[in-house]
Each structure stands twice: as C-alpha cells, then as structure tokens.
Amino acid sequence: MAHLQELEALTKALSGLGIDEKSLISILGKSDPARRTTFRQRSTHFFIEDERSFERWDDHRINLLRLEFVRFENALVLWAMHPWERDARLVHEALTLVPQSYRVILEIACTRSSEELLGARKAYHSLYDHSIEEDVAIHVTGSERKLLVALVSAYRYEGPKVSEDAAKSEAKLIAKAIKNGDKKNPIDDDEVIRILTTRSKPHLKAIYKHYKEVSGKNINEDIEAADFILKETAECLCNPHAYFSKVVDEAIRNDADHNTKKALTRVIVTRADVDLKEIKEEYNSLYGVPLTQKIDDNANGNYKDLLLALMTRD
C-alpha cells in the first residue's frame, strides 16, 4: 500500500511545473535497489522496457524532466537580474528560437514603459554588441518584421494629452483596414502599423473606446485569429492585465509545450514589482480561480515556493 502511495507521490513530484525536491529526496533518496526497480517498472510513462532487459529512461522524458529541474534555477536567476538585462536577454532568446516566440518580443515592447524599454535597448548593446532593432530586423521576416522593429524602437509619449479628433479618425482608419481584411491583411496596412507603433498608450485607449462605440466590438475581437500577432499587440497595449492572465493560464495547462510553460516564470518574475496585484485580480475575474491557488495545485517544490513568495509580497 505504502508502495502505491509512494508511487503516486513520486509521480506528482515529477509532474507539473517545477520539481518537488523534498518528496524526491525523502522517497527516492532513501529507497533501496528493489524499490527503485519497482518504481521504474511501474512508471511506464518515464521508463520503457529495453530489448536487452532493463528499464530505460525514455529520452524525451529525461529532457523534459531536466527542464523541470532547472525551472527553479532559471526563475531565480531571472528574478535577481536587473530588469533591463532581463528584458534584453528575453528578447535575444526569443529571436534565436522558434517564430512563436515573437510573442515575447511584442510583450516586452508593448507592456514596458518608454524608459524601461529604452533601458532594455541599452542593456542589449552591452550584452550583444548589436542594437535590438538590428537583430529583430535580421531574424524576423515578412510583415511581422515591420511591426516588431517599430514596436521595439518606439519611445512613446507618456503624458495624458490626447487629441480626441485624431483618435476618432484613426479608429475609423483601423476599422476600414480590418473590414478590408480579406483583401489586404491589416498587418500590411501602413496606417495600422503607424498608429499601433507610434501613438501613446492613452491615445490608443481613446482609439479603442471610439472603435467600440462605432463597431460595437473590441478591436482585438475583430482582428481575425489569423492575425495573431496584431491581435496580441492590440491586447498588450490596451489591456495588459488580461493579456498576462491569458498567457499565464495557457502556461499552467497540462498540455502546454515547453515554450508556453516558460511564460509562467516570465510573467510572474517580470511583473512582480509592477502590476502583479492587478494581474491576479484580472485572472480571478476571468477564470474564477485565484492564481495563487492554480499555482499551488500545478507547481512543485522550490519553484512553486519562489512563485508564491513573489506573488504574496506586499
């Protein structure tokens, strides 16, 4: 009986985000060879029967497990970094990975303040001997390049002054571009790019308000799912808390892939000193479950403890 419980405990310790180090030590660390053999034989999702009669680690599983073991380490290193270095490293990593990581680039470009983004660009010089826009332009192609280069280069005005007339007319421009979406992708529309990448955030909020009055829907609802990058840009710029809640929720799901999972660390660590409280509230209202509880259920060990510590500071 104890055996079965142990097995369950071990399986839990190795599933989800991060590793329950204490459990592993107390169970596996003390087990004798026979017990470990039973463990291997019973854990068919981790070990396969080799043709030469021994229980072998599944390669894919080892790699995934190794990633889980370093999840805490990566989170801590990221947490200790200066925000500028953090953002610069995140962008650089996103550029040298799969295209799906464009999300990280637009997340940083859109949710940081003008000075924070500037700081990241300076840190990027120091770390990589290139400018951020230089590397984004080289690694990103097609329509996304124009959007992303402009987003990382922006130094948006941060004052409250907004021209309502300009906001109204620009809302109409965007509405027209979206309506023409089947003929020309909005991301290829020069005016859409100009508005999203140069206007101040208060001005964009005014545009969204006018857009909703005119068309009854939110801008990001109207942008087709096919234009994922444009949709996320609009979201990041105008409702970052909802965006972060969504990203975090995707990361905690069981079927999340490695890159998606990394978002949990990234969001909690990068927003802990900024607006984590608001993100928690938004998450709760969107998904009906407190984010701390979700993390408590799905994360393990030191990794979980670190995240919860970051989330419950005052």
Binding site: L118, R121, K122, H125, D129, H130, S131, I132, E133, E134, A137, I138, R145, K146, V149, A150, S153, A154, Y155, R156, Y157, E158, G159, K161, D190, R194, T197, T198, R199, S200
Partner: protein, 314 residues
C-alpha cells in the same frame, strides 16, 4: 573642432545683467547681445538663462523673441536653446512648416545615439507627442518608412565590424540599386538599424567592389525621387558628415537668393562641434574662406552674429 570662443571664467549673473541692459528702453543693443551670447558655450548659456530668471522673473528666451527680429532673431533663438531642444524645434519646423525632411535625416544620422535620444525626449516635452508619431503622421509610404526608422533607431556605438556581413550587405545594396528597387525593405533595414561603424565598412566594401561610391551610384534615374534623395543624404550624413555640411553651406550661399535657414542651421548646430573642420573643408573646396562668403551674402546683426559664431573675436 569648435569655432566659438568662450571665456573660462564667466559670471552668469553679470551676463544676465548685460543682456537686461541691452533690452532696456527703446530698441535693443544687438551688439551687446551678440558679444555676450555668441561667446558662451551651451552650459554657460543655460546658466545665463537661469540667472536671468532668478534676477528678473522672466524667460530670457521669450524676451529675446520679442526684442529681436528676422533672421537674426531666428539664429539667436536657435543658439540659446539647449542642443537637444534646438534639434527638437528644427525637426518640428521641418515637419510642419517647411517639409524639409532632409533636416530630420540630418538630425537622426549625425547625432550620436544618446544625443538622438535626448532629442526625442526634448521633443516629447515640447510637443506632447513622440517624434516618431509626428514624423509618421506627416509622411507616407517609403519616405515614412525611412524617416521613422531613422529617428527611432538606437544604434550600437561600438567599433566592432563584421567584414563578412559588410560584404553581404553591400551586395544587397548593390542589387537594390541595379534593380532600381531603392526602397525595398532590406535597404531600409540596413540603413536604419546597423551601427555607424558597420555601415561605414559596408559603404567602403561597396566602393571597393563597384569602383564607385554608393552615393554616386544612387545618382541618375529617377532624378526627382524624394526617397532616393533622402537615402543619399542619410548615407552622406553617416559616412562623411563634414563634407555633407560643407555642401549644404556651399549650396545655401551659392543659390540665387541665399538660404538663410540652412546657413543658420549649420553654423548654429555645429559651432560647438566641428565647424572649424567644416570651415577648412569649405576653403579647400571653394578657395574662399567661409567667413568671407557668409559676410558677402548676409548683412546687419544677423551677419555679425554668424561671424561671431564662426570665431571672429571683437
């Protein structure tokens, strides 16, 4: 090297008093204004503004605007502003009044990355918009892409050169020129993101390979293409700013009817930087000292002010 002569030991309060005396009563003692302001560097001018405010509760700049007139007033106004504020004003005028977009290219390409940043900040403080916002809103198409790219870049400022990259990007530029596709995305990417040292290596590579400089290669058909004109100016400003300024002055002085705006702009913005080198270049090219040429084409207080900035001591 700079041309102005500024004394090491100046007392801002005394200067403020001298200026106040110059304004008192009917008319203005322009000679006094010139003898003080034309012989003070940027730091000293800032101190004088502060002292004037402390003593007379009045903004020296506003007083100058009301006391002086014409080309003289415009020159002194630009001179008294801090360099980044001055550039912001020049950019705004270029965008909204004169459509002299080459001024924007000049500012974006000649200033260092940090200086350009300071200009962007000063622009926001003054006009409650970001520089790129206004540039984008006032231009269209390829010109917009080039100008927005140039004003938003934060170029890496190191001395590293990647020779292989310089060769390959020189080829990209050569292909674009051959196919007469001057405004393709790659040309803009290279010009608006690479570091200046890297670009100079690229231009050198171009010259070694093609036997002619890239600016010469860009001449020819189509002749009156605004984008091509601005592209050439960007390249010249990055590659050989002194020669560029010499040519601006030569054209401004030679043209039928002098271009005072251009003369003022070059002399005021370079007097504390490299006007001495520009003077030498001018003499070499035209066999006439710049001072003499300026004296011939201008008159009155405006002339006296320019000559003082050019290094003439009373």
């Amino acid at each position: 090297m700079a041309t102005i002569f500024a004394p090491a030991n100046h007392v801002p309060g005394e200067d403020a008093e001298s200026l106040y005396k110059a304004f008192k009563g009917w008319g203005t003692n322009e000679k006094a204004v010139i003898s003080v302001l034309a012989h003070r560097n940027a730091t000293q001018r800032k101190q004088i503004r502060q002292a004037y405010w402390d003593l007379y509760q009045e903004d020296l700049v506003k007083r100058l605007e009301s006391e002086l007139k014409g080309d003289f007033e415009r020159a002194v106004y630009r001179w008294i502003l801090e360099p980044q504020d001055r550039d912001a004003v020049l950019a705004n005028v270029a965008l909204k009044k004169s459509s002299d977009y080459h001024v924007i290219v000049e500012i974006a390409c000649v200033r260092s990355a940090e200086e350009l940043l300071a200009v962007r900040r000063a622009y926001q403080a003054r006009y409650k918009h970001s520089l790129e916002e206004d540039v984008a809103a006032h231009t269209t198409g390829d010109v917009r892409k080039l100008l927005v790219g140039l004003v938003t870049t934060f170029r890496y400022e190191g001395a590293e050169i990647n020779t292989r990259l310089a060769k390959s990007e020189a080829n990209i530029l050569q292909d674009a020129i051959k196919d007469k596709k001057f405004s393709n995305d790659e040309v803009i990417r290279i010009l608006t993101t690479r570091s200046k040292t890297q670009l100079m290596a690229t231009f050198n590579g171009f010259k070694d390979d093609q036997g002619t400089s890239i600016t010469k290669a860009l001449l020819g058909e189509p002749a009156d293409n605004e984008f091509k004109r601005l592209l050439r100016i960007a390249i010249r400003c990055i590659n050989e700013p002194l020669k560029y300024y010499e040519k601006i002055l030569r054209n401004a002085i030679r043209k039928f009817g002098t271009d005072e705006d251009a003369i003022t702009r070059v002399i005021v913005t370079r007097a504390e930087k490299d006007l001495l080198d520009i003077k030498e270049l001018y003499y070499k090219r035209n066999s006439v000292p710049l001072d003499q040429a300026v004296a011939k084409e201008t008159s009155g207080d405006y002339k006296a002010f320019l000559l003082a900035l050019l290094g003439k001591q009373d």
